[in-house]
């Protein structure tokens, strides 16, 4: 069980090795990638700001919650921080269990809770030069850069 924050591209094959377990018949992976559009605007790149101490403690808590609810044997999650280009993997969640139902449900839980609860903020840089913190309704838009 691990949760980490990465400044460099995520190495899926080494994560995959950490998930190997002969008692597991199922593994589900979720990859969140930088998409070229959001709400109708063309995105150029993304920037993630992470407050690491609480991202990790809360990330491990979410994994523990999933283990309490489903028969999860392995779980890993990694989130990038800093600037990411289009198509780059921003977040990976992996869950392995004996049967597939638990793996699907736990993977979905991990990514949903991680997106809702971790102190990780996303700033979209658009093709037109603007940049905005996503989902901060009243914070105003920070322009440029």
């Amino acid at each position: 069980m691990s949760f980490s924050i990465a400044a460099e591209p995520i190495d899926l094959s080494s994560l995959s090795m950490a998930m190997e377990d002969p008692a597991c018949g199922a593994a589900v992976w979720f990859e969140g990638r930088v998409r070229n559009h959001n709400e109708g605007r063309a995105v150029l790149r993304l920037e993630y700001e992470v407050y690491t101490p609480i991202a990790i403690s809360e990330g491990l808590r979410i994994i523990e919650e999933a283990r309490q609810r489903w028969a999860v044997r392995r779980a890993v999650a990694v989130h990038r921080e800093g600037l990411l280009a289009l198509g780059e993997v921003a977040v990976v969640v992996g869950v392995a269990s004996a049967h597939r139902d638990e793996a699907f449900q736990a993977a979905r839980y991990l990514i949903d809770e991680a997106k809702a609860r971790l102190p990780i903020w996303k700033r979209e840089h658009y093709v037109d030069g603007e940049a905005t913190w996503v989902n901060c309704q009243r914070c105003g838009h920070a322009r440029g850069g």
Partner: protein, 80 residues
């Protein structure tokens, strides 16, 4: 009067214009402290989904704080 170190993240940092500051406050709860800072930084507004942490542990807005604490103000996260 308590002295606390406050750190602002992401959109809150842009709104406050500083990433951290040490302030003296008469506020008792974390939400009162935030409102005090919103009075000092006019672009800083309350957000329903904002969170607060005290000394690297998530806290409730109704929690109190002590002299010398470090307070972190987290704007809403990206979610979806």
């Amino acid at each position: 009067m308590k002295t606390v170190c406050i750190r602002y993240f992401a959109a809150f940092r842009d709104a406050a214009g500083v990433s951290e500051e040490t302030v003296n406050s008469n506020a008792t709860t974390l939400s009162a402290l935030f409102r005090e800072r919103a009075g000092a930084h006019t672009a800083l507004h309350e957000e329903t989904a904002a969170k607060v942490a005290l000394n690297d542990v998530l806290a409730d807005w109704s929690d109190t704080f002590e002299n010398g604490d470090e307070v972190l103000f987290f704007p809403p996260v990206a979610g979806g």
